[in-house]
Symmetry: C2
Subunit: 143 residues, 2 copies
C-alpha cells in the first residue's frame, strides 16, 4: 500500500453555552483519534516512501459560532501532522484544510457568511499535491 487518504471526520456543532464534555470527546474520537489511528496503525503497512493525507478544516483558523469542537479537532490534527512527520520519515503525512465547499453552500453556506467557498475540484488538487508531491508535515489550506 502506497497511499492512505482520509476525507472523513465528524464533530458536533453546539454553542459553548450548551455543549457537553461528551461532545468534545465525540469530536476527538470522530475526527482526531480516528485519523491518528490511520497513521499509527498504518505505518507498518504503508510503503517506505508512502504517504498519509488527513483532513482538518478552515475552522482551525477561522472560527464560527457553534464550532468550538470542530475547531479543537482541526487544530489537533494539524499539530499532530507536523509532529508525526518528523518521526515516520521517509513515510510522509500532511493535512488538507478546506473551507466550505461550493457544492455544499445550499446546506452550510449560512454558517460561513462572507467567506469564499472552494470548488471540490480545488480540494482534490490539494490531495493530489500531498500524495504526488514530496513534502511532509504540511497543512495545505484550500481557501
Amino acid at each position: 500500500m502506497d497511499v492512505v487518504v482520509s476525507a472523513a471526520g465528524d464533530t458536533p456543532f453546539k454553542p459553548v453555552a450548551e455543549i457537553a464534555p461528551e461532545d468534545y470527546e465525540a469530536a476527538f474520537r470522530g475526527k482526531v483519534l480516528s485519523q491518528i489511528e490511520l497513521v499509527r496503525q498504518g505505518v507498518g503497512h504503508v510503503a517506505a516512501r508512502g504517504s498519509f493525507t488527513l483532513i482538518s478544516g478552515v475552522l482551525a483558523d477561522e472560527p464560527i459560532p457553534t464550532g468550538s469542537a470542530a475547531s479543537m479537532a482541526n487544530g489537533a490534527i494539524e499539530a499532530f501532522v507536523r509532529a508525526a512527520a518528523i518521526e515516520i520519515a521517509p513515510q510522509r503525512v500532511n493535512a488538507v484544510s478546506p473551507t466550505v465547499f461550493t457544492e455544499s453552500l445550499d446546506d452550510y453556506g449560512s454558517f460561513f457568511p462572507g467567506m469564499p467557498s472552494v470548488d471540490l475540484a480545488r480540494v482534490t488538487e490539494a490531495y493530489v499535491r500531498s500524495v504526488e508531491g514530496a513534502q511532509t508535515g504540511q497543512v495545505y489550506a484550500v481557501r
Copy 2:
C-alpha cells in the same frame, strides 16, 4: 470571580511507533478537555468582562520526537481558544504558548536542541498580558 488561569496539563511522551490510542486519549483528557472544562463550566461563574487563560506550548508549532500527543493537545487548545472567544465575549479567553523554560533545562533541555529557552518571568509576562490586556482569542507565544 474575574480571572481563571491555567498553567497545568499533562501528556504522555512516546514515539509514534510505540504510542497507544489510550495515550492520545490521556493527552486529550489531561491537557485539552481539562482546560476546556475550565471555560465551559467557568463561563457561568466569571464576571462579564472576566477572562480565561489556558496553556498550550511550542510543540504545537515546533515538534520534537516522542511529542506527537503533546503537539496534538497544544494545537487543540489553540484552535479552541480562537473558537470559544467569539462565543463567550465580552468574557475573554487566550492561550499562553511557552517554549522550554530556562529553569527546566536540566530536566528537559536535551529534548530541545538548539532551541532558545525562556525564563519563567517572561512566561509570567504573557499571563499578565492576557489577564490585564483586552484581547481575546489570542495565542501568546513565548519563545
